[in-house]
Each structure stands twice: as structure tokens, then as C-alpha cells.
Symmetry: C2
Subunit: 286 residues, 2 copies
């Protein structure tokens, strides 16, 4: 029985707890900062052990998963560095990786204890909090692991297997490539959706009343939690800025072609053919 | 029993036929250009009468609905101007209105026959063609009617009722306001989604493999038929260009705030609060 320690029972932490209990091979410990959250975790039956005592939850765990905001991770890591079992694996679920991986790897290396490997399970929703947690949140979701040149290969392999057991499709890339990629397909598109909503609101807020399913889907991500996304955008600002500049450039170009039906058809065909290739949601984990 | 004539059995024409037959009070005639399409309409049981003879389908109809591309409408209208019953209502389902309404109103006024009123049922999908037609396509969909200063009030009222019988939520606005509004919530967002896909494809096509449900939803509309959308964008280029310029301006502004977490949180909160107010899909037509 593998002991896992989930630090922070939000949407992701709660869903990991549910999926791990479904997998059946895990003893699940959960740390929550507030006693009210501890009571909620108990009420929802998410864990075998739940406490506000960080070191008590971490002790004896073979896998520790930080499910707190990116900005809170270094402080938490500092508190548990010498409480984690030697040889244990520590990971996180943050949406940005280069800075986090560098900082957390160093903390655990200095403590001489656990192996840190970054994870980014690409699952979530506009909802937040443990009440939005779902046992199937990771079924078919992509999980990106971000090893660097110092990553322990055995720890990486075990973590890979863990996310697969939770239902994920696991891929690996470097922390820096991760940040550039998610800027393109997640962080910048989030900013773009929010900007579209605010632009329409400023030009003619009455237009919202005419919107249909296309606008609703195109702007769905703009319903996500603002403070969390502002932190993500700041943490990955270099790559997001590069994406925004490329987008502005491309919008300028294409706006000159609005009158050129043939060129526009070609542009839209290129987009459609790439869009049509996006992988369909994978079959849920059996 | 009201006789309706549907000119063009694509996704919209086919779905109107199905929804009208469900409503039960209509004799449905369908015109198709190609004999193969006529055979398909027969096979799918979409109509009471189907023919490649435009004037034969239009004759005796109290409501004629042009379901052909915007660019093909004036020629079709010219052919049926003197075949339409005096007092009949003619409408269309085009996504742009100012030019179409001006041109078609004039054709039918000159022929001294029918009353033209523009319609834009905001329903559709990435699919096209009569095989994608659905009886419930209009259930809860917004349908915008675009009367101008010469519109016959009785004809407008009857058309309003017709779309409601098909399941639509009907709203009315002027042709010009219509074009500005749909540029903001449909035409420009379509171009934006296509531009996002092409930007990502140019920066790093491998990033598509990492994309999740957020990117899939944000770019869904980019899967629509390119030639049809290129025509729509050209037809409404003034309003689409204005939206694109406002978007570029807003993107430039917000990109300077990537490092300012508090301002960015405020920006994202503003977007979220407007996005959260978008009306939910209406209850399907009972």
C-alpha cells in the first residue's frame, strides 16, 4: 500500500484523493490549512488521514503532492524538506514549471531527502474547491511531467505510473518547453478569452444578449478563478507575452484580408485542418 | 395549413423542414439545385414537395425562406420575384443583414409581390449539409429579425410567430445594428479562433498535442466551413475590422499588465463577471 500525502484539498487535491481511492492501492493523507477544511475533508470522506499538521501528514508518505497555489509552494516545501521520508517522491500540480521546478528541486536536494519531479495534470474546470472534486477528473486528461538534467529516473518512472493509475495520459518535456507550450495552448488562450469578453463589454454590452453557443464556448475559460489565473500569467509572463505579440501580429495581417475571400478561405482552411486534428477526449480510464 | 417553401436544403434548410413538420401545421416544399439533392431530400423524408424547379416550389407558398449562401441570394430572389404569391412573406437565414435586406427588399418591392423581412437564426454547427440537419436545432436558439423603416408590421409579426413555433427565442433589431452585434459575438470571434489556431501552428505545432478541453472549446468554431465564413467575413468586413482593431488595442494594453497581478486579477474578474452572466441555453421548446 503506497502512502500518499496531498497538501491542499482543492479541486485538484480533492480529485486526486478520489481517483487514488478508486485505484484502491493507496493510503491517502490530506493536509489542509484551515480546521474547517479538515472537517469538510472528513465529511466528504476524501482521505484516510486528514490534519492541519503538515509534518504529520507528510511523515511516512512515499509520494507527496503539493496542490497549493504556485506562489505558496516554496514556503510549504521549506517546512517539509526534512520531514519527508528519504527516497520519497515530491511533486506538484502547478501550471507553470521552470521557476517552480528549479526552486523546489533545490529545497529537497539541500534537505538531502526526497526527489522532486514537476507534474502538470491538465484538468480542471471553472469550478474550484474540494466540493467540485470529481473521481473522473483525470480520466483521459494529459499530465505533463517536467524532468530536468538532475531528475532521478526511478522517481520519474514511478510518478509516471502514478498519474497513469489515476487515468491520465502522461507526456514528458523540459520545464522550459512546458512553459512555452502551455503559454500557447492554455495561458494565452485564457487571457485572449477574457480580453474578448472585456472588448465586447466595452464596445456594446447589449451584444452579450445575442450570443449563442459559439461565443459561450469560445469564452468558457474566462469563467475561471481570476486570482489563480493572474498568478499563472505573471509566473509565465515571458512566454505569454511572446504568444500575445505573435497573435497581435497575425491579427493585423489577417485583418487586411477581410476583403479577399480567396485568401481568407485559405487562412480559415488552414485553421480548420489543424483544429480538426486536435485529439479527441481519450476514452475514460477503464 | 401554411405552405412554406425552403430554398436550399442544407443544415439550416433541412432543420427548418424537420422543425416545421414537428410543429405540424405546415406543408413543406423544398427547392434544391441538384437532382441528387432532391433525391436525398426525398430519402430523408424532409418535405411534402421537393423539386429543382424554383418557381414550382415557391408558387402558392405563404412563407418563402432563402437558405442559400448570402452571395447567391440576389440571383435567386430575382428569379422568384414575380412567382411569389402577392402578400406572401419572404425571409432568409443569412448571417449578415444590412446589404442583404436592402437588396432583397428592393427586389420584392419592385416586383410588387411579397414582403421581405430578414431573419438570422443563430444556430448551426461545424457540420454542414442536410445530413447534419436536426429537428431540435432551433430549440432555445436566438433568432434575430431585422425590420427596417419599410417593413410590413403584419408580415413581421407572422414571421416572429413562425420562428417561435420552430423553438426560437426571437429578438428584433435594425439590419445595421445586427451586423455590428454579430461582428462582436460571432464573426470576429470566429476569425479570432482561426487566428489562434494558426498562430499556435506557426509557433509550435507540437503544442497541439498537449491541448486540453479549454483549447478545444476556445477554438471549436474554427472548425466551421471556410468558404462560408470567408463570405460572411467579407460581407461584414467593416464591423469585423472595427472589432479586430478594438481587440488588438485591448491585447496591447493587457500585455503590459502581465507582471501586475492585482491589475490582472481585476481585468480577469471583470471578464468573469460578464461571462458568468451570459444567458444559459434556454429550456428546449416544449
Amino acid at each position: 500500500m503506497t502512502r500518499i500525502a496531498i497538501l491542499g484539498p482543492g479541486l485538484l487535491g480533492g480529485s486526486i484523493a478520489l481517483a487514488a481511492r478508486r485505484a484502491g492501492e493507496f493510503h491517502v493523507g490530506v493536509w489542509a490549512r484551515r480546521t474547517e477544511a479538515v472537517e469538510e475533508v472528513k465529511k466528504l470522506g476524501l482521505a484516510d488521514l486528514v490534519s492541519t499538521d503538515l509534518r504529520a501528514v507528510v511523515a511516512g508518505a512515499q509520494l507527496v503532492i503539493l496542490c497549493v497555489p504556485v506562489g505558496a509552494m516554496p514556503a510549504i516545501a521549506g517546512q517539509i524538506g526534512d520531514a519527508v521520508e528519504p527516497g520519497a517522491i515530491v511533486t506538484d500540480v502547478g501550471s507553470v514549471k521552470a521557476a517552480v521546478v528549479a526552486e523546489l528541486s533545490e529545497i529537497f536536494r539541500a534537505a538531502g531527502s526526497a526527489h522532486f519531479v514537476g507534474s502538470h495534470p491538465m484538468a480542471g474546470s471553472e469550478q474550484t474547491g474540494m466540493h467540485a472534486a470529481r473521481v473522473d477528473l483525470f480520466d483521459g486528461a494529459t499530465c505533463i511531467l517536467t524532468p530536468d538534467e538532475n531528475t532521478n529516473a526511478l522517481a520519474l518512472g514511478r510518478l509516471h505510473q502514478f498519474w497513469e493509475e489515476l487515468g491520465c495520459q502522461v507526456v514528458e518535456t523540459s520545464p522550459l518547453d512546458h512553459d512555452r507550450i502551455v503559454a500557447l495552448i492554455s495561458h494565452f488562450p485564457h487571457l485572449l478569452a477574457a480580453t474578448l469578453v472585456n472588448m465586447v463589454g466595452e464596445k456594446n454590452a447589449a451584444a452579450f444578449d445575442f450570443s449563442g453557443p459559439g461565443f459561450r464556448d469560445a469564452t468558457r475559460v474566462a469563467g475561471g478563478p481570476p486570482a489563480m489565473w493572474a498568478e499563472i500569467l505573471r509566473s509565465n509572463h515571458t512566454a505569454v507575452r511572446a504568444a500575445a505579440e505573435a497573435m497581435i501580429e497575425k491579427l493585423r495581417e489577417i485583418t487586411t484580408l477581410l476583403d479577399h475571400e480567396a485568401s481568407m478561405t485559405e487562412f480559415l482552411t488552414q485553421a480548420k485542418s489543424q483544429r480538426d486534428l486536435l485529439r479527441l477526449p481519450k476514452t475514460p480510464h477503464a
